[in-house]
Symmetry: C2
Subunit: 314 residues, 2 copies
């Protein structure tokens, strides 16, 4: 069984997802220490803040080679973010929300690995053609920003695996070892988990937000703002306001106005569960505790093994 | 590994889904002959037509014990449909689109097995309380009618498995043996496949519809008519008309008027790919051939075995 452990210097083929307001230096370092890829999410950070978080991660781990940065390419500062990370010695980049052509050649020229996030087999083919080393294929059930075709992880992974020759890392809807075993049966070479890592001791999420994940149930999230940028949210007052606008056929501009600025920070970092935007995946309702990253990773590995039959199912 | 083979008299823990206009007596008999549960979909049939299809299935198989009927409880004739099936000796019922309390006691009193279709852990708990023998837990990616919470199969199955003690059969997004292996890692005791069986020699689907599945790509389906009854459709002229109405915030009545009568028959049975309603799952784009049911089932079993690692993944 070939996993991304042959591509990346990690012990287990798991990636802690880069997430705005949640995955700072502390979480990334804890993940690297636990043997998986620790990702600083640059999406919510100015280049100076990103520098601080990477420096913090470097101080907190003896495995700098297991640190990566996730850079959404839709922000104006993405090039500066990549430069900051390169200067600090980061060699693994996860890019998203933009064309894989933009920076892949340049980053590969700096002796880096580039992994692009895709939501369809067509984007995976473009990423392979652009020279990416792997793709993260992320399904409809994932938290935060999402693809427009609403393809679920179970549908997506085998199609992406059939479409490209580079390793495919599954994301979206994976909350425990059963999910990891499942996506690897589909042909994935590894798994990226986001929401599961929000509810860890080391994540920067506000404790209110962590608790909201623990009390969520199966119908607690919904993909919203489809006319603007599709994003999966935990249902709260802010979500209900978005939904009311959408139900009456609101325009992109009206949605943009309601969204305003700082909603995600307000919800996820500052813990305002009513007015804030809470980006979270469908699998939130499967999460019942707030372990340390080290304990979580060991449990995921055990669960994954226990989810597999000896021999075959039938 | 406990599978639904200990609950139902079948050789492999697979169910050919009951589907309107597609799963008549011929398809159900072929499935029973291939060692899995063959299901006549009563949804589109008046009781007299259902009687003909069950009789046809009984003539075409030496395994009547592997035949079942799927009865959506939202139709006015559902009780008569169940009575017809009971009179012909059917002992396995899959009920959907209604309360599991309605007929479960009565059917169990007739020495029958009852399996209810659910789209959330909450409905699974109600089905277990109503005395059902198992549930089919069907995710957002499934074709045809769908739940309102949009929970994907990957998110849904582990939550349902944790919520009930009866066997859980996974449905939605399963198109090959990789998908079967995946859902069984999630804890499912079997898998129900629908769209995959539309594109078989023995299905009653019009050849135009089968070909449309073969030429579909990953973004070809979408969950529509959410204000009416959510249903996943293959994108065509009819779908675009529905979408245009929805985008401008149309009411349930406007959608009902556009839908009219006989759209599903027109598309799926009569092969009108423009004006007809084509109910199909997201996994359509993974389907590339039209095998016989016997060949398909044997291939699914082989693929499922090959999707599993020897020992464990890592």
């Amino acid at each position: 069984m070939k996993t991304i452990c042959s591509l990346l210097p990690i012990s287990y083929p798991l990636i802690q997802a880069g997430m705005v307001w949640v995955s700072g230096g502390k979480l990334a370092a804890a993940s690297a220490n636990a043997g998986i890829l620790g990702v600083v999410g640059a999406g919510s950070m100015k280049p100076e803040l990103l520098e601080k978080h990477i420096s913090k991660a470097l101080k907190l781990t003896n495995h700098p080679e297991r640190l990566a940065v996730n850079v959404p390419l839709l922000y104006t500062k993405s090039k500066e973010q990549l430069e900051v990370a390169l200067q600090l010695g980061i060699k693994i980049f996860i890019t998203s929300a933009g064309s894989p052509k933009t920076y892949t050649d340049w980053l590969k020229g700096q002796d880096s690995k580039v992994i692009h996030v895709v939501s369809s087999p067509e984007f995976a083919i473009k990423s392979e053609a652009a020279g990416c080393d792997a793709v993260v294929a992320e399904g409809f059930e994932a938290g935060g920003h999402n693809g427009r075709d609403e393809i679920t992880t179970l549908s997506l992974i085998p199609q992406v695996v059939d479409a490209v020759n580079i390793p495919v890392i599954a994301a979206g809807g994976i909350g425990d070892g059963r999910g990891i075993a499942a996506v690897m049966c589909l042909g994935a070479s590894g798994a990226q988990l986001g929401t599961r890592f929000v509810a860890t001791v080391e994540s920067s999420a506000h404790d209110n937000f962590k608790q909201a994940i623990l009390s969520s149930h199966s119908g607690s999230t919904m993909l919203s703002m489809k006319k603007y940028v599709p994003v999966r949210l935990l249902k709260n007052k802010f979500y209900e306001e978005v939904k009311a606008l959408e139900d009456r056929g609101a325009t992109k501009e009206e949605l943009e106005k309601l969204l305003g600025h700082g909603r995600a920070r307000l919800g996820m970092l500052e813990g305002n569960l009513e007015e804030g935007e809470l980006e979270v995946g469908q699998i939130a309702s499967l999460i019942h505790d707030i372990p340390t990253v080290e304990n979580l990773v060991q449990r995921l590995i055990q669960e994954q093994r226990m989810s597999l039959p000896v021999g075959c199912f039938f």
